[in-house]
Amino acid sequence: MALSRKCVPFTPFDRTLDKSTIAIVSAGGVHLKDQEAFNIADELGDLTYRVIPPDAAAQDLMVTHHHYDHADADEDINVVFPLDVLRDLEAEGFIGGVAKKHVGYMGYTMQLKAMYEGTAPQIANEIDKGSRADAVVLTGG
């Protein structure tokens, strides 16, 4: 796998959690119900992503992904996209805040180069510009 030969893109975290804003980026196929669903008909996968607002209600989120069993996420989205949990940690003072933007995408693709060189930098840019996140939690399915 070509990716594994690259350097680990490690960015130091020089803050304290209780003063930090956290974003979620998930490959679990999460999106708002009123956003366009991911295209699971294309065997090559779907390279697009959806921006999720910080005040999204759990019942307004859903999963479109056909490469893992998301029955549990259908029941409680927090098992793959812990937005309510993040809000809990903000309420208890463990983190400083919930970022202004979170991202869902479908982490299944046969187009690895396009994912790595296109989608991933776009998502990073989305977080960097306007989410005000100090760190990101990544989840898969």
Binding site: D72, V79, D88, L89, A135, V137, G140, G141
Partner: protein, 84 residues
């Protein structure tokens, strides 16, 4: 852009390790689709997320993952193996 610190929660640690994530937590025995735990187990979900975020403040080894056990999760599952 100076980069964004990340921490991954993975239930496929061997598969994820191939990508050499900067920081990663493997909640041992959680099945695919249960990265934070089971539906409705909010305190467990909070603990997993606290543990993942805490890795940001610790001297972890980049490219490796940390395994934690959560007995409250219940039945354990084997993670997928990497095909040789």
């Amino acid at each position: 852009m100076r980069g964004i610190p990340t921490v991954l929660i993975t239930v496929s640690p061997e598969v994820s390790a191939q990508m050499r994530p900067p920081r990663a937590l493997y909640p041992k025995g959680f099945k695919i689709g249960n990265s934070l735990g089971r539906p409705g187990m909010r305190e467990l979900q909070r603990q997993v997320l606290r543990d993942a975020l805490t890795l940001l403040t610790e001297n972890t080894r980049p490219g490796d993952y940390v395994t934690r056990e959560y007995p409250d999760y219940g039945e354990q599952y084997e993670p997928p193996k990497v095909k040789q």
